[in-house]
Symmetry: C2
Subunit: 294 residues, 2 copies
Protein backbone atom coordinates (compact mmCIF):
# COMPACT_ATOMS: atom_id res chain seq x y z
CA UNK A 1 0.00 0.00 0.00
CA UNK A 2 0.98 3.60 -0.49
CA UNK A 3 -0.08 6.51 1.69
CA UNK A 4 0.46 10.22 1.12
CA UNK A 5 0.07 12.83 3.84
CA UNK A 6 -0.10 16.60 3.31
CA UNK A 7 2.05 19.31 4.83
CA UNK A 8 0.12 21.61 7.17
CA UNK A 9 0.38 25.16 8.44
CA UNK A 10 -0.89 25.80 11.97
CA UNK A 11 -1.80 28.77 14.18
CA UNK A 12 -2.42 31.03 11.15
CA UNK A 13 -1.67 34.02 13.35
CA UNK A 14 -4.08 34.22 16.28
CA UNK A 15 -5.33 30.61 16.25
CA UNK A 16 -2.77 29.29 18.70
CA UNK A 17 -2.90 25.48 18.98
CA UNK A 18 -6.28 25.24 17.20
CA UNK A 19 -6.39 26.57 13.61
CA UNK A 20 -4.64 24.89 10.70
CA UNK A 21 -4.85 24.03 7.01
CA UNK A 22 -3.46 21.46 4.61
CA UNK A 23 -1.10 22.13 1.71
CA UNK A 24 -0.63 20.08 -1.45
CA UNK A 25 2.95 19.12 -0.56
CA UNK A 26 3.19 15.50 0.47
CA UNK A 27 5.25 12.85 2.14
CA UNK A 28 4.49 9.47 0.66
CA UNK A 29 5.28 6.07 2.08
CA UNK A 30 5.09 2.72 0.33
CA UNK A 31 4.72 -0.27 2.66
CA UNK A 32 5.10 -3.84 1.40
CA UNK A 33 5.05 -7.21 3.13
CA UNK A 34 8.58 -8.56 3.06
CA UNK A 35 10.61 -11.47 4.40
CA UNK A 36 12.71 -9.06 6.46
CA UNK A 37 12.39 -5.47 7.75
CA UNK A 38 13.99 -2.79 5.57
CA UNK A 39 13.75 0.93 4.98
CA UNK A 40 14.72 3.39 2.26
CA UNK A 41 14.47 7.18 2.31
CA UNK A 42 14.31 9.55 -0.66
CA UNK A 43 14.00 13.33 -0.45
CA UNK A 44 14.05 15.15 2.90
CA UNK A 45 16.24 13.25 5.37
CA UNK A 46 17.79 10.88 2.82
CA UNK A 47 21.28 11.79 3.97
CA UNK A 48 20.49 11.42 7.66
CA UNK A 49 21.61 7.95 8.77
CA UNK A 50 19.85 8.31 12.16
CA UNK A 51 16.48 8.39 10.42
CA UNK A 52 17.02 4.86 9.17
CA UNK A 53 18.04 3.45 12.54
CA UNK A 54 15.57 5.28 14.72
CA UNK A 55 12.60 6.03 12.51
CA UNK A 56 9.58 7.56 14.26
CA UNK A 57 7.16 6.54 11.50
CA UNK A 58 8.28 2.92 11.81
CA UNK A 59 8.10 2.94 15.65
CA UNK A 60 4.56 4.33 15.70
CA UNK A 61 3.49 2.07 12.84
CA UNK A 62 4.60 -1.05 14.73
CA UNK A 63 3.15 0.17 18.03
CA UNK A 64 -0.30 0.45 16.43
CA UNK A 65 0.08 -2.59 14.18
CA UNK A 66 0.99 -4.83 17.15
CA UNK A 67 -1.88 -3.37 19.17
CA UNK A 68 -4.27 -4.33 16.34
CA UNK A 69 -2.85 -7.68 15.24
CA UNK A 70 -0.72 -8.88 18.17
CA UNK A 71 2.09 -9.43 15.65
CA UNK A 72 5.23 -7.75 14.42
CA UNK A 73 5.35 -8.77 10.76
CA UNK A 74 8.33 -7.61 8.69
CA UNK A 75 7.67 -4.90 6.09
CA UNK A 76 9.64 -2.86 3.64
CA UNK A 77 9.13 0.92 4.08
CA UNK A 78 9.95 3.24 1.18
CA UNK A 79 9.79 6.89 2.10
CA UNK A 80 9.55 9.74 -0.37
CA UNK A 81 9.67 12.85 1.82
CA UNK A 82 8.80 16.22 0.35
CA UNK A 83 7.90 18.05 3.59
CA UNK A 84 10.98 19.81 5.03
CA UNK A 85 11.84 18.90 8.64
CA UNK A 86 11.60 21.45 11.48
CA UNK A 87 10.30 24.27 9.34
CA UNK A 88 6.77 24.62 10.77
CA UNK A 89 5.24 22.63 7.91
CA UNK A 90 3.81 19.79 9.97
CA UNK A 91 6.36 17.12 9.09
CA UNK A 92 5.99 15.46 12.54
CA UNK A 93 2.21 15.42 12.23
CA UNK A 94 2.49 13.90 8.76
CA UNK A 95 4.68 11.14 10.22
CA UNK A 96 2.29 10.46 13.11
CA UNK A 97 -0.90 10.53 11.04
CA UNK A 98 0.71 8.51 8.22
CA UNK A 99 2.05 5.85 10.58
CA UNK A 100 -1.27 5.37 12.37
CA UNK A 101 -3.44 5.35 9.23
CA UNK A 102 -1.14 2.91 7.42
CA UNK A 103 -0.92 0.59 10.44
CA UNK A 104 -4.74 0.31 10.43
CA UNK A 105 -4.69 -0.27 6.69
CA UNK A 106 -1.98 -2.95 6.81
CA UNK A 107 -3.72 -4.63 9.78
CA UNK A 108 -6.93 -4.75 7.73
CA UNK A 109 -8.85 -2.87 10.44
CA UNK A 110 -11.32 -0.21 9.27
CA UNK A 111 -11.02 3.06 11.17
CA UNK A 112 -12.76 6.39 10.70
CA UNK A 113 -10.69 9.53 10.18
CA UNK A 114 -11.95 10.67 13.60
CA UNK A 115 -10.45 7.53 15.14
CA UNK A 116 -7.08 8.12 13.39
CA UNK A 117 -7.11 11.73 14.60
CA UNK A 118 -7.76 10.75 18.21
CA UNK A 119 -4.96 8.17 18.07
CA UNK A 120 -2.67 10.87 16.69
CA UNK A 121 -3.44 13.11 19.68
CA UNK A 122 -1.60 10.61 21.88
CA UNK A 123 1.62 11.47 20.03
CA UNK A 124 1.05 15.20 19.54
CA UNK A 125 -0.88 16.95 22.28
CA UNK A 126 -2.32 19.83 20.26
CA UNK A 127 -4.58 19.24 17.28
CA UNK A 128 -3.72 22.17 15.00
CA UNK A 129 -1.48 20.20 12.58
CA UNK A 130 -2.85 16.67 12.94
CA UNK A 131 -6.45 17.75 12.20
CA UNK A 132 -5.71 19.19 8.72
CA UNK A 133 -3.28 16.30 8.04
CA UNK A 134 -6.25 13.96 8.62
CA UNK A 135 -9.10 15.92 6.99
CA UNK A 136 -7.45 18.40 4.62
CA UNK A 137 -8.88 21.90 4.13
CA UNK A 138 -9.08 24.59 6.80
CA UNK A 139 -9.75 23.15 10.25
CA UNK A 140 -10.71 24.56 13.61
CA UNK A 141 -10.29 22.15 16.51
CA UNK A 142 -10.70 21.79 20.24
CA UNK A 143 -9.67 19.06 22.66
CA UNK A 144 -12.58 18.01 24.88
CA UNK A 145 -12.09 15.24 27.44
CA UNK A 146 -9.05 13.95 25.57
CA UNK A 147 -10.84 13.84 22.21
CA UNK A 148 -10.44 16.15 19.23
CA UNK A 149 -13.51 17.86 17.78
CA UNK A 150 -12.86 19.45 14.40
CA UNK A 151 -14.88 21.39 11.88
CA UNK A 152 -13.47 21.51 8.36
CA UNK A 153 -14.05 23.87 5.46
CA UNK A 154 -12.82 22.99 1.96
CA UNK A 155 -10.47 25.57 0.52
CA UNK A 156 -11.33 27.18 -2.80
CA UNK A 157 -9.05 26.88 -5.83
CA UNK A 158 -9.27 30.70 -6.07
CA UNK A 159 -6.59 30.89 -3.39
CA UNK A 160 -3.04 29.53 -3.17
CA UNK A 161 -0.06 29.45 -0.84
CA UNK A 162 3.26 31.17 -1.36
CA UNK A 163 5.49 29.52 1.23
CA UNK A 164 8.81 31.00 2.28
CA UNK A 165 11.04 28.23 3.65
CA UNK A 166 14.21 29.57 5.33
CA UNK A 167 17.52 27.76 5.25
CA UNK A 168 17.48 27.48 9.07
CA UNK A 169 15.09 25.79 11.49
CA UNK A 170 13.55 27.12 14.70
CA UNK A 171 12.98 24.52 17.39
CA UNK A 172 9.30 24.23 18.41
CA UNK A 173 10.12 23.28 21.99
CA UNK A 174 12.69 26.02 22.41
CA UNK A 175 10.40 28.48 20.70
CA UNK A 176 7.51 27.53 23.04
CA UNK A 177 9.52 28.04 26.23
CA UNK A 178 10.17 31.64 25.23
CA UNK A 179 6.46 32.49 25.32
CA UNK A 180 4.90 34.20 28.34
CA UNK A 181 3.26 31.95 30.93
CA UNK A 182 0.19 34.18 31.13
CA UNK A 183 -1.58 36.87 29.13
CA UNK A 184 -3.50 39.96 30.23
CA UNK A 185 -7.19 40.17 29.35
CA UNK A 186 -6.68 42.73 26.55
CA UNK A 187 -4.28 40.41 24.74
CA UNK A 188 -6.49 37.39 25.27
CA UNK A 189 -9.43 39.22 23.70
CA UNK A 190 -7.18 40.42 20.87
CA UNK A 191 -6.33 36.85 19.81
CA UNK A 192 -9.62 35.26 20.78
CA UNK A 193 -11.66 37.71 18.71
CA UNK A 194 -9.32 37.44 15.70
CA UNK A 195 -9.21 33.63 15.78
CA UNK A 196 -13.03 33.63 15.76
CA UNK A 197 -13.20 36.14 12.91
CA UNK A 198 -10.54 34.19 10.98
CA UNK A 199 -12.63 31.01 11.26
CA UNK A 200 -15.69 32.93 10.12
CA UNK A 201 -13.72 34.40 7.20
CA UNK A 202 -12.58 30.94 6.03
CA UNK A 203 -16.04 29.42 6.46
CA UNK A 204 -17.71 32.28 4.58
CA UNK A 205 -14.86 32.75 2.06
CA UNK A 206 -14.59 36.44 2.89
CA UNK A 207 -10.98 36.71 1.81
CA UNK A 208 -10.78 40.45 2.42
CA UNK A 209 -11.17 39.84 6.15
CA UNK A 210 -8.10 37.60 6.36
CA UNK A 211 -5.59 40.40 6.75
CA UNK A 212 -7.04 41.99 9.91
CA UNK A 213 -8.31 38.68 11.28
CA UNK A 214 -4.88 37.01 11.05
CA UNK A 215 -3.08 39.37 13.41
CA UNK A 216 -1.60 37.90 16.57
CA UNK A 217 -0.20 39.35 19.78
CA UNK A 218 0.62 36.15 21.63
CA UNK A 219 3.50 34.34 19.95
CA UNK A 220 4.61 35.50 16.49
CA UNK A 221 6.66 38.55 17.42
CA UNK A 222 8.70 36.69 20.03
CA UNK A 223 9.31 33.76 17.69
CA UNK A 224 10.12 35.87 14.63
CA UNK A 225 12.89 37.65 16.53
CA UNK A 226 14.89 34.41 16.15
CA UNK A 227 14.99 35.09 12.41
CA UNK A 228 14.52 38.79 11.82
CA UNK A 229 14.23 38.52 8.02
CA UNK A 230 10.70 37.18 8.62
CA UNK A 231 9.45 40.70 9.43
CA UNK A 232 10.53 41.74 5.93
CA UNK A 233 8.96 38.61 4.42
CA UNK A 234 5.61 39.69 5.85
CA UNK A 235 5.96 43.30 4.74
CA UNK A 236 6.89 42.37 1.18
CA UNK A 237 4.16 39.73 0.92
CA UNK A 238 1.42 42.08 2.16
CA UNK A 239 2.68 44.98 0.03
CA UNK A 240 2.46 42.74 -3.03
CA UNK A 241 -1.12 41.65 -2.46
CA UNK A 242 -0.94 38.68 -0.07
CA UNK A 243 -4.27 38.26 1.73
CA UNK A 244 -2.55 37.16 4.92
CA UNK A 245 1.02 36.45 5.98
CA UNK A 246 1.69 34.48 9.17
CA UNK A 247 4.36 32.38 10.80
CA UNK A 248 3.74 28.74 9.83
CA UNK A 249 3.30 26.86 13.11
CA UNK A 250 6.22 27.87 15.29
CA UNK A 251 8.36 28.65 12.22
CA UNK A 252 10.68 28.99 10.58
CA UNK A 253 8.55 28.99 7.40
CA UNK A 254 6.25 31.86 6.56
CA UNK A 255 2.78 31.17 5.16
CA UNK A 256 1.40 33.64 2.64
CA UNK A 257 -2.14 33.16 1.40
CA UNK A 258 -2.78 34.78 -1.98
CA UNK A 259 -5.46 35.00 -4.65
CA UNK A 260 -4.41 32.40 -7.27
CA UNK A 261 -4.15 35.09 -9.95
CA UNK A 262 -1.80 37.18 -7.79
CA UNK A 263 0.50 34.34 -6.71
CA UNK A 264 3.20 35.07 -9.27
CA UNK A 265 3.54 38.69 -8.19
CA UNK A 266 4.01 37.75 -4.52
CA UNK A 267 6.34 34.87 -5.39
CA UNK A 268 8.56 37.01 -7.59
CA UNK A 269 8.78 39.83 -5.06
CA UNK A 270 9.80 37.38 -2.33
CA UNK A 271 12.25 35.44 -4.55
CA UNK A 272 13.95 38.67 -5.62
CA UNK A 273 14.55 39.76 -2.03
CA UNK A 274 15.28 36.45 -0.31
CA UNK A 275 17.59 34.55 -2.60
CA UNK A 276 18.79 32.36 0.28
CA UNK A 277 15.27 31.13 1.13
CA UNK A 278 13.09 28.68 -0.81
CA UNK A 279 9.97 30.46 -2.09
CA UNK A 280 7.37 28.07 -3.52
CA UNK A 281 3.76 28.16 -4.63
CA UNK A 282 1.40 25.39 -3.59
CA UNK A 283 -2.27 24.56 -3.98
CA UNK A 284 -4.26 23.63 -0.88
CA UNK A 285 -5.11 20.02 -0.05
CA UNK A 286 -8.75 19.19 0.68
CA UNK A 287 -8.44 15.42 1.22
CA UNK A 288 -6.10 14.88 4.15
CA UNK A 289 -4.09 11.66 4.09
CA UNK A 290 -4.87 9.42 1.13
CA UNK A 291 -4.34 5.69 0.81
CA UNK A 292 -3.54 5.19 -2.84
CA UNK A 293 -3.50 1.44 -3.30
CA UNK A 294 -4.13 -1.42 -0.95
Amino acid sequence: MQIKIPATSANLGPGFDCLGLAIALYNSVCIKPSSYYSISIKGEGEQNAKLKKNNIFVSIFYEIYQELTGQKDPFRFEFDNKIPFSRGLGSSSAVIVGAIASAYEMAGVKASRECILNKALVYETHPDNIAPAVYGGFTTSIVEMGKVKTLKKELSSDIKVVMVIPDRSMSTAQSRTQLPKSYIMTNVVYNLSRASLLSAAFFSENWDFLRVASKDCMHEHKRMRQLKELFDVREIALNNGALMSTLSGSGSSFFNLVRANEAAKVTNALKNTFEMFRVEEFEFDNSGFQILKS
Copy 2:
Protein backbone atom coordinates in the same frame (compact mmCIF):
# COMPACT_ATOMS: atom_id res chain seq x y z
CA MET B 1 -40.20 57.93 12.31
CA GLN B 2 -40.17 54.73 14.29
CA ILE B 3 -37.13 52.58 14.99
CA LYS B 4 -36.97 49.15 16.57
CA ILE B 5 -33.78 47.60 17.92
CA PRO B 6 -33.30 43.95 18.91
CA ALA B 7 -32.14 42.51 22.21
CA THR B 8 -28.76 40.79 21.97
CA SER B 9 -26.91 38.05 23.79
CA ALA B 10 -23.11 38.37 23.92
CA ASN B 11 -20.09 36.23 24.80
CA LEU B 12 -22.01 32.98 24.11
CA GLY B 13 -19.64 31.18 26.46
CA PRO B 14 -16.04 31.44 25.24
CA GLY B 15 -16.46 34.43 22.90
CA PHE B 16 -15.56 37.06 25.45
CA ASP B 17 -16.17 40.60 24.11
CA CYS B 18 -16.49 39.42 20.49
CA LEU B 19 -19.34 36.96 19.77
CA GLY B 20 -23.02 37.88 19.90
CA LEU B 21 -26.42 37.36 18.33
CA ALA B 22 -29.70 39.20 17.96
CA ILE B 23 -33.03 38.15 19.43
CA ALA B 24 -36.52 39.04 18.22
CA LEU B 25 -37.33 41.06 21.34
CA TYR B 26 -37.38 44.78 20.62
CA ASN B 27 -37.30 48.24 22.04
CA SER B 28 -39.13 50.62 19.78
CA VAL B 29 -38.97 54.39 19.74
CA CYS B 30 -41.23 56.77 17.90
CA ILE B 31 -39.72 60.23 17.23
CA LYS B 32 -41.83 63.12 15.98
CA PRO B 33 -41.06 66.78 15.28
CA SER B 34 -42.83 68.80 17.94
CA SER B 35 -43.10 72.38 19.14
CA TYR B 36 -41.52 71.38 22.46
CA TYR B 37 -39.40 68.51 23.79
CA SER B 38 -41.32 65.68 25.49
CA ILE B 39 -40.89 62.04 26.38
CA SER B 40 -43.11 59.10 27.28
CA ILE B 41 -42.07 55.61 28.37
CA LYS B 42 -44.10 52.40 28.15
CA GLY B 43 -42.90 48.96 29.23
CA GLU B 44 -39.51 48.47 30.90
CA GLY B 45 -38.61 51.55 32.93
CA GLU B 46 -42.03 53.20 32.75
CA GLN B 47 -42.15 53.61 36.53
CA ASN B 48 -38.64 55.01 36.78
CA ALA B 49 -38.90 58.82 36.94
CA LYS B 50 -35.12 59.24 36.50
CA LEU B 51 -35.35 57.78 33.00
CA LYS B 52 -37.50 60.70 31.92
CA LYS B 53 -35.22 63.36 33.33
CA ASN B 54 -31.90 61.87 32.41
CA ASN B 55 -32.52 59.71 29.36
CA ILE B 56 -29.43 58.22 27.70
CA PHE B 57 -31.19 57.63 24.38
CA VAL B 58 -32.20 61.30 24.22
CA SER B 59 -28.71 62.54 25.22
CA ILE B 60 -26.95 60.46 22.55
CA PHE B 61 -29.63 61.30 19.97
CA TYR B 62 -29.10 65.05 20.45
CA GLU B 63 -25.31 64.73 20.56
CA ILE B 64 -25.33 63.11 17.11
CA TYR B 65 -28.21 65.20 15.74
CA GLN B 66 -26.44 68.46 16.67
CA GLU B 67 -23.19 67.16 15.21
CA LEU B 68 -24.99 66.50 11.91
CA THR B 69 -27.32 69.51 11.71
CA GLY B 70 -25.83 72.09 14.06
CA GLN B 71 -29.30 72.41 15.62
CA LYS B 72 -31.23 71.18 18.65
CA ASP B 73 -34.78 70.88 17.29
CA PRO B 74 -37.49 69.82 19.75
CA PHE B 75 -38.92 66.31 19.29
CA ARG B 76 -41.38 64.05 21.02
CA PHE B 77 -39.89 60.66 21.99
CA GLU B 78 -42.25 57.75 22.65
CA PHE B 79 -40.49 54.69 24.04
CA ASP B 80 -41.94 51.22 24.07
CA ASN B 81 -39.30 49.15 25.89
CA LYS B 82 -39.48 45.38 25.84
CA ILE B 83 -35.81 44.61 26.63
CA PRO B 84 -35.32 44.22 30.39
CA PHE B 85 -32.64 46.49 31.94
CA SER B 86 -29.42 45.10 33.44
CA ARG B 87 -30.15 41.49 32.61
CA GLY B 88 -27.44 40.82 30.01
CA LEU B 89 -29.83 41.31 27.11
CA GLY B 90 -28.13 44.27 25.47
CA SER B 91 -30.54 47.01 26.57
CA SER B 92 -27.70 49.59 26.70
CA SER B 93 -26.53 48.64 23.23
CA ALA B 94 -30.10 48.91 21.92
CA VAL B 95 -30.29 52.42 23.37
CA ILE B 96 -26.95 53.47 21.86
CA VAL B 97 -27.55 51.96 18.41
CA GLY B 98 -31.15 53.19 18.32
CA ALA B 99 -30.20 56.74 19.31
CA ILE B 100 -27.43 57.01 16.71
CA ALA B 101 -29.40 55.44 13.85
CA SER B 102 -32.47 57.59 14.52
CA ALA B 103 -30.40 60.79 14.82
CA TYR B 104 -29.00 60.15 11.32
CA GLU B 105 -32.49 59.40 10.04
CA MET B 106 -34.06 62.53 11.58
CA ALA B 107 -31.14 64.66 10.34
CA GLY B 108 -31.76 63.30 6.83
CA VAL B 109 -28.16 62.07 6.56
CA LYS B 110 -27.61 58.67 4.92
CA ALA B 111 -25.26 56.41 6.87
CA SER B 112 -24.23 52.80 6.33
CA ARG B 113 -24.74 50.24 9.08
CA GLU B 114 -20.95 50.11 9.38
CA CYS B 115 -20.89 53.85 10.10
CA ILE B 116 -23.61 53.50 12.78
CA LEU B 117 -21.67 50.61 14.35
CA ASN B 118 -18.45 52.60 14.52
CA LYS B 119 -20.25 55.56 16.07
CA ALA B 120 -21.74 53.15 18.64
CA LEU B 121 -18.24 51.96 19.60
CA VAL B 122 -17.58 55.43 21.05
CA TYR B 123 -20.28 54.76 23.65
CA GLU B 124 -19.62 51.06 24.27
CA THR B 125 -16.01 49.95 23.98
CA HIS B 126 -16.59 46.31 23.08
CA PRO B 127 -18.50 45.29 19.96
CA ASP B 128 -20.19 42.04 21.07
CA ASN B 129 -23.66 43.55 21.67
CA ILE B 130 -23.65 46.57 19.35
CA ALA B 131 -22.65 44.47 16.29
CA PRO B 132 -25.69 42.14 16.41
CA ALA B 133 -27.92 45.11 17.38
CA VAL B 134 -26.80 46.74 14.11
CA TYR B 135 -26.69 43.73 11.75
CA GLY B 136 -28.87 41.04 13.37
CA GLY B 137 -27.92 37.37 13.15
CA PHE B 138 -24.82 35.79 14.67
CA THR B 139 -21.84 38.13 14.62
CA THR B 140 -18.13 37.76 15.23
CA SER B 141 -16.28 41.06 15.64
CA ILE B 142 -12.89 42.56 16.27
CA VAL B 143 -11.78 46.12 16.95
CA GLU B 144 -8.91 47.15 14.65
CA MET B 145 -7.48 50.66 14.91
CA GLY B 146 -10.63 51.91 16.62
CA LYS B 147 -12.97 50.46 13.98
CA VAL B 148 -15.23 47.41 14.26
CA LYS B 149 -14.92 44.63 11.67
CA THR B 150 -17.81 42.19 11.80
CA LEU B 151 -18.80 39.07 9.91
CA LYS B 152 -22.46 38.09 10.17
CA LYS B 153 -24.26 34.79 9.60
CA GLU B 154 -28.07 34.71 9.35
CA LEU B 155 -29.65 32.41 11.92
CA SER B 156 -31.91 29.61 10.70
CA SER B 157 -35.56 29.38 11.72
CA ASP B 158 -34.79 25.78 12.77
CA ILE B 159 -33.39 27.15 16.03
CA LYS B 160 -34.88 29.29 18.79
CA VAL B 161 -33.99 30.86 22.11
CA VAL B 162 -35.34 29.91 25.49
CA MET B 163 -34.29 32.81 27.70
CA VAL B 164 -34.30 32.61 31.47
CA ILE B 165 -34.58 36.11 32.94
CA PRO B 166 -33.99 36.22 36.70
CA ASP B 167 -35.78 38.61 39.03
CA ARG B 168 -32.43 40.17 40.03
CA SER B 169 -29.74 41.99 38.05
CA MET B 170 -25.97 41.52 38.11
CA SER B 171 -23.99 44.68 37.49
CA THR B 172 -21.71 44.42 34.44
CA ALA B 173 -19.08 46.70 35.92
CA GLN B 174 -19.07 44.94 39.26
CA SER B 175 -19.10 41.60 37.52
CA ARG B 176 -16.12 42.58 35.31
CA THR B 177 -13.94 43.67 38.23
CA GLN B 178 -14.23 40.21 39.73
CA LEU B 179 -12.51 38.60 36.74
CA PRO B 180 -8.80 37.73 36.83
CA LYS B 181 -6.40 40.28 35.36
CA SER B 182 -4.50 37.60 33.44
CA TYR B 183 -4.95 34.04 32.20
CA ILE B 184 -2.51 31.16 31.86
CA MET B 185 -1.81 29.78 28.39
CA THR B 186 -3.91 26.61 28.89
CA ASN B 187 -6.99 28.67 29.70
CA VAL B 188 -6.36 31.09 26.86
CA VAL B 189 -6.18 28.18 24.39
CA TYR B 190 -9.31 26.66 25.97
CA ASN B 191 -11.42 29.74 25.19
CA LEU B 192 -9.66 30.75 21.99
CA SER B 193 -10.14 27.32 20.40
CA ARG B 194 -13.77 27.09 21.51
CA ALA B 195 -14.65 30.61 20.33
CA SER B 196 -13.19 29.71 16.92
CA LEU B 197 -15.07 26.41 16.78
CA LEU B 198 -18.28 28.14 17.90
CA SER B 199 -17.97 30.64 15.03
CA ALA B 200 -17.34 27.78 12.62
CA ALA B 201 -20.37 25.91 14.02
CA PHE B 202 -22.66 28.93 13.51
CA PHE B 203 -21.30 29.65 10.02
CA SER B 204 -21.65 25.99 8.95
CA GLU B 205 -24.90 25.36 10.91
CA ASN B 206 -23.37 22.36 12.66
CA TRP B 207 -25.68 22.59 15.66
CA ASP B 208 -24.34 19.45 17.29
CA PHE B 209 -21.00 21.19 17.84
CA LEU B 210 -22.53 24.03 19.88
CA ARG B 211 -22.50 22.20 23.19
CA VAL B 212 -18.74 21.51 23.39
CA ALA B 213 -17.81 24.69 21.52
CA SER B 214 -19.75 26.93 23.93
CA LYS B 215 -17.79 26.01 27.06
CA ASP B 216 -15.89 28.79 28.80
CA CYS B 217 -13.23 28.88 31.51
CA MET B 218 -12.66 32.65 31.69
CA HIS B 219 -15.69 34.37 33.15
CA GLU B 220 -18.93 32.40 33.50
CA HIS B 221 -18.18 30.42 36.63
CA LYS B 222 -17.09 33.48 38.61
CA ARG B 223 -20.10 35.48 37.47
CA MET B 224 -22.64 32.71 37.98
CA ARG B 225 -21.59 32.39 41.62
CA GLN B 226 -23.48 35.67 42.20
CA LEU B 227 -26.69 33.80 41.41
CA LYS B 228 -26.17 30.12 42.07
CA GLU B 229 -29.50 28.99 40.59
CA LEU B 230 -27.92 29.58 37.16
CA PHE B 231 -25.88 26.38 37.49
CA ASP B 232 -29.17 24.47 37.76
CA VAL B 233 -30.66 26.44 34.86
CA ARG B 234 -27.82 25.16 32.66
CA GLU B 235 -28.09 21.59 33.88
CA ILE B 236 -31.85 21.42 33.32
CA ALA B 237 -31.64 23.10 29.91
CA LEU B 238 -28.91 20.75 28.63
CA ASN B 239 -30.61 17.68 30.11
CA ASN B 240 -33.78 18.62 28.25
CA GLY B 241 -32.16 18.97 24.85
CA ALA B 242 -30.80 22.52 24.71
CA LEU B 243 -27.98 22.73 22.14
CA MET B 244 -26.08 25.24 24.25
CA SER B 245 -26.69 27.09 27.50
CA THR B 246 -24.57 30.13 28.36
CA LEU B 247 -24.64 33.22 30.52
CA SER B 248 -26.13 36.05 28.44
CA GLY B 249 -23.49 38.79 28.38
CA SER B 250 -22.43 39.30 31.97
CA GLY B 251 -25.80 38.05 33.22
CA SER B 252 -28.09 37.71 34.94
CA SER B 253 -30.10 36.13 32.09
CA PHE B 254 -29.28 32.68 30.75
CA PHE B 255 -29.34 32.03 27.02
CA ASN B 256 -30.47 28.58 25.88
CA LEU B 257 -30.31 27.77 22.19
CA VAL B 258 -32.68 24.98 21.17
CA ARG B 259 -33.99 23.25 18.07
CA ALA B 260 -37.33 24.95 17.33
CA ASN B 261 -39.21 21.65 17.68
CA GLU B 262 -37.69 21.04 21.13
CA ALA B 263 -38.28 24.53 22.52
CA ALA B 264 -41.46 23.63 24.42
CA LYS B 265 -39.76 20.80 26.30
CA VAL B 266 -36.90 23.01 27.48
CA THR B 267 -39.26 25.88 28.32
CA ASN B 268 -41.56 23.69 30.37
CA ALA B 269 -38.74 22.04 32.30
CA LEU B 270 -37.28 25.45 33.16
CA LYS B 271 -40.66 27.01 34.03
CA ASN B 272 -41.51 24.13 36.33
CA THR B 273 -38.27 24.50 38.30
CA PHE B 274 -37.81 28.27 38.34
CA GLU B 275 -41.19 29.76 39.09
CA MET B 276 -39.60 33.01 40.26
CA PHE B 277 -37.78 33.61 36.93
CA ARG B 278 -39.24 34.64 33.58
CA VAL B 279 -38.76 31.86 31.02
CA GLU B 280 -39.57 32.95 27.48
CA GLU B 281 -39.17 31.63 23.95
CA PHE B 282 -37.95 33.96 21.21
CA GLU B 283 -37.09 33.72 17.52
CA PHE B 284 -33.77 35.16 16.36
CA ASP B 285 -33.54 38.52 14.62
CA ASN B 286 -31.67 38.68 11.30
CA SER B 287 -32.21 42.35 10.45
CA GLY B 288 -30.65 44.40 13.21
CA PHE B 289 -32.23 47.79 13.89
CA GLN B 290 -35.10 48.62 11.55
CA ILE B 291 -36.45 52.03 10.65
CA LEU B 292 -40.13 51.41 10.12
CA LYS B 293 -41.45 54.66 8.70
CA SER B 294 -39.77 57.91 7.82
